[in-house]
């Protein structure tokens, strides 16, 4: 019986691997006891040995709190070389046709934990480098005091959220979260983690349109041949199925809340509107609401169509973004133009329609994507900018759109992807605080092209090259937004980035 006990123990260890935990072997030991091959005491001794082995391993020492049902550690580290430059207009008052250029070597770190808890709750946290809302990059050599110091190498909380999925098809999230909406870089920089609440609903309908059935038949097609050259039986024809995902995503983001709402003493005033007049500083918080509904229709052979119309509206004046947007003035000096308000969120009611069509051809994923956006209150935004900036109102400048295509996808080793698009964003179309920080330098009133090429060196390592070129749309206006290039209006812009990333 002792020999049998040892044999059972060896079997358990062999089946469970080096880190065989007693609870994994429990079912096997119970079965051996039930079949009277070993006694309860012998099973207990084996179990005890396995637990002792497990406790001595690194995995056995790891203790998770009881509510956690699943936990994932993930993240990435990226090295980047970047060149970006911008040119002043030829009619610039101080430095016409002058280039402002930056070359930087940068890195970023993102590391997170996300998981599920008992009773359908979930959570996530992610730490990131850089305190910018639209970047996680840190520039090598930009440290102070002294070389290699850690002045700008801080770690910040990028994400901290939890949510509930207990109701079928619904997901509720609160906190500082990954973007729950379907968006593109035209409207939202993908480094932004919005703060607030989100409610998501998605339901899948499957339509079986018949077809298929019948007996499998021998096939001499190329796909049907086995290695030894004999004909193989082809698979029976599959039924024609359509899958329709219908979804609705709503978000209530806290956009601006610089407390207090009611300070001691009289309300403060400001002349930050550049009119020289005192105005009371509004103290109501600003919220951004998103209302998105959409659908994705998937056909056999991986063909799909997706639409996600969305409306963004803002409530409240906010404490920091309440000055009306001007976006620069080509009649001013560069410094003065930059100093006009670039961040105001007045008169923004943006309708957005991202769309995508995808399919596979010769085994290669392909897709065409596009987007159209219109600031329904663009006229008011233009008038407010003109009044504050002292120039003519260009009320028609409230549209944005993009169109592009992609070949391939980056998932596993040796995968590659090419993506290219054309983007057009007028001065009063979008929220300049949210647009992508790289492609057109956080700016609006820009149009241009962007190309990205990626290659997976290994399953976790990717190389990416990005190039974008843009120029100003309306020569009578500035190029609103706070970018890295200290030029306004930005008449011409280009960026090149070479990235190497490891993802875990």
């Amino acid at each position: 019986m002792k020999k049998l006990t040892l044999a059972a123990a060896a079997l358990c260890v062999a089946l469970g691997g080096t880190v065989a935990r007693a609870q994994d072997a429990g079912a096997l030991l119970d079965l051996l006891v039930k079949k009277r091959l070993i006694s309860d005491q012998e099973a207990e001794e084996v179990r005890s040995e396995l637990v002792k082995e497990s406790a001595s391993t690194a995995a056995g020492k790891w203790k998770l709190s009881a509510p956690i049902t699943e936990l994932e550690l993930y993240g990435d580290v990226r090295l980047r070389y970047e060149y970006r430059g911008g040119r002043t207009p030829s009619e610039h008052t101080d430095n016409p046709n002058d280039w402002y250029e930056r070359e930087r070597e940068r890195y970023r770190l993102r590391v997170g934990l996300r998981g599920t808890l008992a009773d359908d709750w979930f959570f996530g946290i992610r730490l990131e480098t850089s305190n910018s809302s639209r970047s996680t990059n840190v520039t090598f050599g930009a440290d102070s005091p002294g070389p290699f110091s850690k002045g700008d190498d801080g770690i910040f909380v990028g994400q901290a959220y939890f949510g509930y999925t207990g109701f079928p098809d619904f997901k509720f999230t609160g906190g500082r979260m990954p973007q729950p909406l379907i968006t593109t870089s035209m409207l939202w920089d993908d480094d932004i983690n919005p703060e607030g609440l989100a409610e998501q609903w998605k339901h899948t309908f499957t339509f079986d349109l018949g077809g298929g059935g019948g007996e499998a038949v021998q096939s001499y097609s190329k796909e049907g041949y086995s290695k030894d050259g004999k004909a193989v039986v082809a698979h029976a024809a599959e039924p024609f199925k359509l899958k329709l995902d219908v979804f609705a995503n709503f978000a209530q983001y806290v956009y601006d809340d610089t407390n207090p709402e009611n300070p001691i003493g009289p309300r403060p005033t400001t002349t930050g509107n550049n009119t020289g007049n005192n105005q009371l500083v509004p103290q109501t918080d600003a919220f951004m609401m998103a209302w998105q509904i959409g659908a994705r229709l998937t056909f056999p052979s991986s063909f799909y169509v997706q639409l996600a119309p969305t409306l963004y509206n803002y409530t409240g004046n906010g404490d920091s973004f309440n000055i009306h947007f001007v976006g620069g003035n080509p009649a001013l000096s560069n410094t003065a133009s930059l100093a006009t308000n670039q961040t105001g969120i007045n008169s923004l009611l943006v309708f957005d329609l991202p769309a995508e069509i995808g399919w596979k051809a010769w085994g290669l994923p392909m897709r065409i994507f596009g987007e159209f956006a219109d600031n329904i209150e663009g006229h008011d935004r233009a008038h407010a900018a003109a009044e504050l900036g002292g120039f003519d109102a260009h009320t028609g400048q409230h549209y944005a759109w993009m169109i592009g295509g992609a070949l391939g996808q980056l998932k596993a080793k040796n995968d590659w992807e090419i993506r290219a698009w054309y983007q057009y964003a007028q001065q009063y179309a979008l929220d300049p605080n949210l647009v992508d920080s790289d492609i057109f330098d956080d700016r609006v009133n820009q149009k241009g092209v962007a190309v990205k090429v990626g290659y997976m060196v290994a399953d976790a390592i990717s190389l990416n090259l990005t190039y974008a070129y843009s120029w100003r749309i309306n020569g009578s206006l500035g190029t609103g937004g706070l970018g890295d290039i200290q030029v306004n209006p930005l008449d011409q812009y280009q960026i090149f980035q070479a990235d190497m990333s490891v993802k875990f």
Binding site: K34, D40, Q41, E44, E45, S48, V51, K52, A55, A66
Partner: protein, 271 residues
């Protein structure tokens, strides 16, 4: 001669000291084992081994395992298996948690004698103790808010029941924690809406009745065959193989004499 006399005196004194230590057995841990069974075993053992004294403290299985780890007991009684973290903690202190099964037990669900319920399913047991169901009418009773009585968190029975009957879900928020089996039996016996769980040795407490679970009550046969859903082994834990007085007591407990007492008290013998 003088040296021989001193040496003999010293040897006798050392033997006396060793005997004093060897005659005293410290046992800590499970209330399930320590409230009735182990004291009765100890009495019988003392009758056969005059001069032996026992120091028994029954404050929950967790305390028994902890006592082996920190060396404050020679035997740790436990109605649950030691956790990986406890085994790891023991190993870090150079201790090895050696389990010896001393009896089987079937955790029985008890309700007040006046409760008209005739039996419960495993699902209903889970629902009651997790708080999914809060009224007796939902499980075929005559109505009334269910009062759930459980053991406290240091109890092995608390952990075992959570694993065996509740799929490791948390106990209902309003459940009342009791120190031992007898306290649970007492409270359920007083409360017409009460429900709790106790070891087999406490199923006949006054004012209570045991519930068949999917038609099965815990019995010697069903527990030994491991067919009763809430069966469990109970243990003595020692630091490695027991030795000296501890070995003698362990051998007595698993031997025929001890197992007779096990059956008399209401547990299920290991053979």
């Amino acid at each position: 001669m003088k040296i021989k006399h001193v040496a003999l005196s010293l040897a006798l004194a050392a033997t006396g000291i060793a005997s004093a230590h060897a005659d005293r057995l410290v046992i800590k841990g499970s209330d399930t084992l320590g409230a009735k069974l182990v004291p009765q075993l100890a009495e019988q053992f003392k009758a056969q081994h005059p001069g032996t004294t026992f120091d028994i403290a029954a404050e929950g299985s967790t305390t028994g395992i902890a006592a082996i780890i920190d060396g404050t007991a020679q035997i740790g009684m436990s109605s649950r298996r030691a956790k990986t973290s406890e085994v790891g903690a023991a190993a870090s202190k150079g201790k090895h948690m050696k389990p010896t099964i001393v009896a089987f037990d079937g955790i029985g669900v008890i309700v007040n004698s006046a409760n008209p319920i005739k039996g419960l399913t495993k699902k209903q047991v889970e629902q009651i103790f997790t708080g999914d169901v809060t009224d007796w009418s939902a499980v075929g009773g005559s109505g009334g808010k269910i009062s759930v009585y459980t053991r406290n968190t240091s109890s092995g029975t608390y952990s075992d029941f959570k694993e065996l009957a509740m799929k490791k879900r948390d106990y209902a928020g309003g459940s009342q924690k009791m120190a031992g089996n007898e306290q649970i039996a007492a409270e359920v016996g007083k409360n017409p809406n009460g429900v709790g769980y106790v070891g087999m040795a406490y199923l006949k407490a006054g004012g209570t009745k045991a519930m068949p679970i999917d038609g099965a009550l815990p019995s010697t046969k069903s527990v030994q065959a491991h067919s009763y859903p809430y069966w469990r082994p109970t243990f003595y834990y020692t630091n490695g193989d027991p030795s000296g007085l501890a070995k003698d007591f362990v051998d007595f407990t698993v031997g025929s004499g001890g197992q007779r007492i096990v059956a008399q008290v209401g547990f299920v013998p290991i053979k």
